[in-house]
Symmetry: C2
Subunit: 507 residues, 2 copies
């Protein structure tokens, strides 16, 4: 077999895996947007079967044969050649899945079902003890999982690497310490200011107008609805079925305008990344998370979040944006926003107020919620924090960082769904996204002299094209820090993020 043919045989196997994972994603999207209640009964089976099939395809002897051929074929290529990366990533994923026995996967899946029910009950009764034994098992199985896939310094490294390859407990510790140090004085300054007016955000905003403005947002930011959709869900998300079908969802809170507006901007950011992946990578390893068994073009959870946070916060949650577009919003809501100025609106949507709930947090306190969770995950994984002591640790951290007293578990340790799905290790990627987004944005503003002017003029095409060529198009070819080094000259660095927040909130 010649080089091209060897490579093609592997491609064909991976294309099938990608097809299956895209079908799995559609089952999920549908279950959260369109499926009638009755469908829930069997939808879980369908998703589980397809995920298992994807793994089986990856571990099949035919894939191993094609992979070995392909490994020989790409030997002479440059280290960062797309074909070589495809092969290497496939090998990494095959070894990953080979190391995890099917029995452990089944145990985790079985746990998920009962753990989620227990978590729902525990949260509704605000009683951690109902959920505690299931979380203990989640930690135990996560530890077993980490041991299977291997780690050298800390078992949390193994879990984090699934979402954010290259990141470790140690690297996070270092990042968080710099962030805490930098964030606290900014937060102090911001909190010393008088609170701006924000009453108008809570007026009556009919869904129709919110959706209409959301659609103008898609247009302004360049999200292509010929290759996408905007639907309504309880928990907003973005999902892609290859770059030409990338869907986003939002939720409309009739009495709180920012929820759908910034939520939509956030998901548009995710969507733009996926829509911008090189078409040549469609149905290849470079548009498939073969470790996480998820069809996605972004290179890591953190990199993905960097794009959503960049568009949400650096663009839409900016004074420039509202100076330019507030009149559009007023046209949709003339009665509700007639007595508000662009600057007042901006001040209201950037007001800082520490709170107990992560998903309601402002830009300046959000990372404290994340760091708290990541620290806890890390301590659960190495056993230094017994599950029974979790509420106490949580409440102490909330007091220490944000000065808040947690009144009950529902508003504390039970507020997030993440752990109940059986997964530990994804929380840090939210903060990584914030840091990376600012780092990229700073470089772009420095390197492209026309960028600020175009953004000021309400033209986001220059920014999108920069991001497309520098980040989106590469899909999963480069790792996150590799991308950052290529484009910003250095690995993940919190300085630009702190500078951005300082400038925005402690001016």
């Amino acid at each position: 077999m010649n080089q091209q043919a060897s490579f093609a045989a592997l491609q064909e196997r991976i294309a099938a895996v990608n097809d299956v994972l895209n079908a799995t994603s559609l089952l999920t999207w549908d279950s959260r947007t369109m499926m009638p209640a009755g469908g829930a009964e069997t939808r879980g089976h369908q998703i589980a079967t397809l995920t298992r099939i994807a793994r089986d395809l990856l571990l099949a002897p035919e894939t191993e044969g094609a992979l070995e051929e392909a490994e020989r074929a790409v030997e002479g290529l440059p280290a960062d050649a797309a074909e070589r990366r495809m092969v290497e990533q496939t090998r990494h994923a095959v070894e990953h899945h080979r190391s995890v026995p099917a029995s452990l996967i089944q145990e985790r899946a079985a746990l998920r079902t009962v753990a989620q029910s227990a978590w729902i009950e525990a949260r509704s009764k605000s009683d951690f003890s109902i959920y505690e034994p299931h979380l203990a098992k989640t930690v135990a199985l996560s530890r077993a999982y980490a041991d299977c896939i291997g780690w050298s310094e800390h078992p949390y490294d193994a879990m984090v690497s699934i979402y954010e390859p290259g990141e470790t407990a140690a690297s996070l510790k270092s990042l968080f310490s710099k962030l805490r140090e930098g964030l606290l004085p900014i937060l102090d300054t911001a909190r010393s200011r008088p609170q701006p007016r924000s009453d108008f955000l809570f007026r009556d905003f009919p869904e129709e107008g919110q959706r209409a403005f959301g659609l103008t947002l898609t247009e302004k930011l360049g999200y292509d609805l010929q290759r996408g959709r905007l639907d309504t869900t309880v928990h907003p998300f973005e999902v892609s079925f290859t770059r030409n079908d990338v869907r986003i969802t939002t939720r409309y809170n009739r009495n709180y305008l920012p929820a759908s507006m910034f939520g939509t901007a956030h998901e548009i950011g995710h969507g733009l990344y996926e829509q911008g992946v090189d078409p040549a990578y469609t149905r290849t390893t470079l548009a498939t998370d073969l470790v996480g068994l998820y069809a996605v073009g972004g290179t890591s959870f953190g990199a993905h979040e960097s794009q959503s946070r960049l568009w949400e916060n650096h663009i839409v949650r900016s004074l420039t944006f509202w100076q330019r577009h507030f009149s559009d919003l007023q046209r949709h809501f003339p009665d509700q926003l007639g007595d508000v100025s662009a600057e007042e609106f901006y001040r209201a949507v950037t007001r800082v107020e520490p709170g107990l709930i992560r998903v309601e947090a402002d830009e300046l306190t959000y990372d404290f919620h994340i760091m708290l969770r990541a620290d806890i995950e890390c301590a659960l994984m190495d056993g230094s924090l017994p599950v029974s002591e979790l509420p106490g640790a949580w409440n102490a951290a909330m007091k220490r960082d944000l000065g808040l007293t947690v009144p009950n578990d529902a508003k504390g340790v039970l507020q997030d769904v993440h752990w109940s799905t059986g997964y530990i290790g994804s929380f840090p990627t939210y903060t990584i996204g914030n840091v990376m987004g600012a780092q990229v944005m700073e470089t772009l503003r420095q390197q492209n002299p026309s960028l600020n002017a175009s953004i000021g003029a309400g033209d986001y095409g220059v920014l999108a094209e920069e991001l497309r060529t520098r980040i989106w198009q590469h899909g999963r070819r480069f790792m996150r820090d590799e991308l950052l080094e290529r484009e910003t000259g250095r690995r993940l660095d919190p300085a630009p993020y702190l500078a951005y927040l300082q400038n925005k909130y402690a001016f």
Copy 2:
């Protein structure tokens, strides 16, 4: 292994096949209702991959092992025991797929893509010659397919059996001859009557009102929206993802009210069948067409069509229905239907007028369109009709049966999509559905004295419960004629259908 365990191993394999096929159906549903244009590029790959995986799962050595165990386990059971039927149907499907080489499947799939493009071009230019070579290849590959799966009397038998097991070229010939003989005098009588008024059907009916009335139809007829959805498409269809998620679609023609109304009633009939399948059959062979590789609970295409036509024509297209419900419709369209009586409305929606286009045909001429196509399919399969002579044969049959001159191929031989998808043999099931629906309805009216009164009172629950217990709940356990013999005492028989049409159109 004990009997139950042997059987469970097979069940688990089949459940996975069912999961995959349900995912395939979702890919299809989505592509016809929700998918943005960009998604088309890879959706075909996704569907092809999942279909191939379903076949591979069925032909895997593990399935064969489980099947052999299960065959021994069910040996002592009654011939029509559900478990025994599951095993026998699985064996039949395995042998079917084993007989067809993967190369032929690939050839047919490759042909489909080019044939559909050619058909679209041919139809738009009304030039059969553009499509002719592709149809010739479709016939050749269908013939090869028939030879693989085997036939004794006529190659068409093999093709028809995929959609309507037990039906053959000979049985269809006999059925059609009785139908032609019975239908022609009814048609003559109907055509000798003056045409009723129908101008009001073509007034302006905004989609909103049509959809609202469609939703009241789902309620009246008992289609459960907690286990279903009503969406909009170009070509209406029904699809199920197990009995608890059965979706229907319709299309709204703003200037022709009957299109969506009777279309919706038709799809509701399909949907009721699927929603009524025994819950115990979920994810089993008895809710999966393992030969056609399609997740469906109805036992054949014809049986399915019998239910849709029964609800569409015997219930909704009846004088009784409109006497009871026309005022509801008027409430949705007071301006458009204010000057119309229930009887006038009924006369208009049952007017008879031979036309060239199958999908626009009235109840009395529809079967001529089907018989024409089935006769042609049969003659193409045995070679007695060369593809080049197809337009001539088509036009001659239209002249002979309906007295119509076909002005061009677009309004003749090129009007249907079916053959361009590579499939031959499904057309007869439409007429079988009409015949079976009337046969079932006649028996129900005879055997249940309260049925007519309940229908007259606008209560369709009695009918639905009869159909559920006699037909729907059995899923694919019994073959169509077996069902008919159990419930009506005889196999498929056109007499009740002809009596129904006589009574309705030549009174």
